[in-house]
């Protein structure tokens, strides 16, 4: 499989429910980021978690990172119809030399549908 695989591929929930998406990756990372993409639009950055962090919150978003399992999860609490979008995790690979130009390696994404 490839770097940054998300599951599930598609998630359908009712407004008010929580949505959890998972991401796995293969290499050592500098950080892991989650992006959102509305249909036909660009990617919007949601949250960045560094390799030495285990959990991070931003509003209704909660991200966890387990570097021993090379996995991350994104939790959206109290979902809204406006959260309907595709969600991607992306990793920045760690570089032993310390130089990172920040290349993002994306997963396949999770399509989230929130029904009103």
């Amino acid at each position: 499989s490839q770097q940054g695989e998300e599951d599930p591929q598609a998630l359908s929930i009712q407004e008010g429910e929580n949505a959890t998406m998972n991401c796995s990756y293969k290499t050592s990372i500098n950080n892991l980021q989650w992006y959102r993409q509305n249909s036909g639009r660009g990617l919007v950055h949601l949250i960045l978690i560094r390799s030495n962090e285990r959990e991070k919150h931003s509003g209704r978003l909660r991200v966890t990172l387990d570097t021993s399992k090379k996995s991350s999860s994104l939790l959206i609490t109290a979902s809204r119809a406006a959260d309907t979008a595709s969600y991607f995790c992306a990793t920045v690979r760690s570089n032993a030399g310390g130089t990172s130009y920040g290349k993002l390696t994306f997963g396949q994404g999770t399509i989230l549908t929130v029904h009103p």
């Binding site: 980021q33 919007v44 920040g102």
Partner: protein, 116 residues
């Protein structure tokens, strides 16, 4: 809030023709990127650009591709002789200098390139 802008939003070109995709990154950003997303597939890194030169490129970024920052504000991607498989959404992104890659990238809304 500053944005990355891309033009055109949709480009239709005959196979074998040259195409130039244009981007205006956020003004105080110093790292610039091109990514592409073939319909239904993951976002793929093409190239990163820093200090007026390519810092990293992927296998996709072959001799048919080139990037330029001609005037200090625009950042362009040129495809010299387009192929059918170049049909995709092309995203430009930029980020500030600091942080060794620990900064989110800001994406434009993309150019949809259709090769006939």
């Amino acid at each position: 809030e500053p944005e990355v802008t891309q033009t055109p939003s949709h480009q239709v070109t005959q196979m074998g023709q040259e195409v130039i995709l244009r981007c205006v990154p956020i003004s105080n950003h110093l790292y610039f990127y091109w990514y592409r997303q073939i319909l239904g597939q993951k976002v793929e890194f093409l190239v990163s650009f820093y200090n007026n030169e390519i810092s990293e490129k992927s296998e996709i970024f072959d001799d048919q591709f080139s990037v330029e920052r001609p005037d200090g504000s625009n950042f362009t991607l040129k495809i010299r002789s387009t192929k059918l498989e170049d049909s995709a959404m092309y995203f430009c992104a930029s980020r500030p200098h600091r942080g060794r890659g620990n900064q989110p990238q800001h994406f434009g809304d993309g150019t949809r390139l259709s090769i006939l």
